[in-house]
Subunit: 294 residues, 2 copies
Amino acid sequence: MKPVWGGVEAGGTKFACIVARSPEDILAEERFPTTTPQETLARVIQFFTHNHPEKLSGIGVASFGPLDINPDSATYGSITSTPKPGWAYTDMVAPFKEAFNVPVVIDTDVNGAALGEHLWGAAQGLDTFIYLTIGTGIGGGGMVNGELIHGLTHPEMGHIRIPHNWEEDSFPGICPFHGDCLEGLASGPAIKERWGESPENLPHEHPAWELEAHYLAFGLVNYTTTLSPQRIIIGGGIMHHPTLLKTTREKVQELLKGFIQHPSLEEDIDTYIVSPGLGDKSGVLGAIGLAMQK
Amino acid sequence: MKPVWGGVEAGGTKFACIVARSPEDILAEERFPTTTPQETLARVIQFFTHNHPEKLSGIGVASFGPLDINPDSATYGSITSTPKPGWAYTDMVAPFKEAFNVPVVIDTDVNGAALGEHLWGAAQGLDTFIYLTIGTGIGGGGMVNGELIHGLTHPEMGHIRIPHNWEEDSFPGICPFHGDCLEGLASGPAIKERWGESPENLPHEHPAWELEAHYLAFGLVNYTTTLSPQRIIIGGGIMHHPTLLKTTREKVQELLKGFIQHPSLEEDIDTYIVSPGLGDKSGVLGAIGLAMQK
């Protein structure tokens, strides 16, 4: 019998938990909103306590951040400088290790999702690619040469600086650190603040979406020129808009102007910028992938 | 006796050639200006012909680009869409392979330089870092998890888009593809065109340098957030200005605003953004590194 793994996708808005042998063999799963660290982590422990804790070979955590993922650090596994109230310096590893006495592996939510897509989704067979999420925040992870991207810490792709179209967009951006970085201009809360309406309530033909595609395209062009990924997978709630992905692809091509000559950036752009193969489960399945990789 | 390698650093302005066993055991070297492809490649062949061609175990080429570095491609080893007159679609591998009948390996000039710095320079012991050159063009290469960055093609880091400070800088940028991408705003030719004077003739206290540091800092912040390198090595003729590196470091810190909590980005910024350990030889020594790696 294959081993059983626990997975936790820790998001700024909701948590997802899973107990599974593989994506085809899920023993239990649950989603709930993110509240305080105490309450939310207790609920994760409760979930595993009620779902075969004796079978778990390990737990993977794919968490929002920034995170301390340096195994040699005294604060390994903790969230660091998040602006999310109450969550700064929360240990996302020790509580689970203590409760279940199994190995616990942590990485960013987006590196987790990237691993999930690599194992079972839209990045199968690729060794250099990016996974982005456009939602409450903007984050990116991925692999280069078949390994998840880690370096000094981990990528914080949402915080790149891009040209701000001040002539048509006087909104200053909402990133508490950087103002008008990509996340500050194009995350869900940025859209809501700029237009005074939640993204899900904005009509599909509202000019918000053209501007959103414009900013996202700058981000994708910068990731493309910096990393040369074989594919960019782009998930998150904002991407549920029916034509945003298509408009973003078109704007990426407009901005690149044929500079990088490759079919993926020309006739095959639809297979270069794609939706996640695992839908909204990239993160939580990727979390079990993190546990498996250990 | 250790094997002997040939290295060619093919730059847009000059070529450097070397025959060596290692950086400490150089048998011959030469530099000459880049002219036409025919003339320049003939001069490379002439150099090796006069310097122990019978001893060569292989040749590495670290070339300006964009390049086709896909080994399965019919045009492997060729420059592709360069705006440099006469050089588009020049084969940078076959002429040397035919002349000397040895394996010839090619990568970008900046990936070559990154490898040189990794083997013998400022990136020894690091597995995730970036090498940038700021000169006739702006380019970047590097390693992630100990391997040179390759994906769909190779990085073209100079072509990221950054905020253009239109209020203080009405210069539209000179990139023939993208106008005001980083290279379009901050390469040597961009400085010359904006201020009407070659960078080497601009006084050290000229406002050109403050603006240069400003744009470079946006680039470095974007590479930092996208890749999380352990170090950024920054070479090229423009960096010979005595305080540009220091001013760029300061502006990187101002732009990051403490978001990524790590000593390298705080008190140790002087060891995060550094000059090449191999001086102006990163590229040509990296080229022999490419040949050795094969």
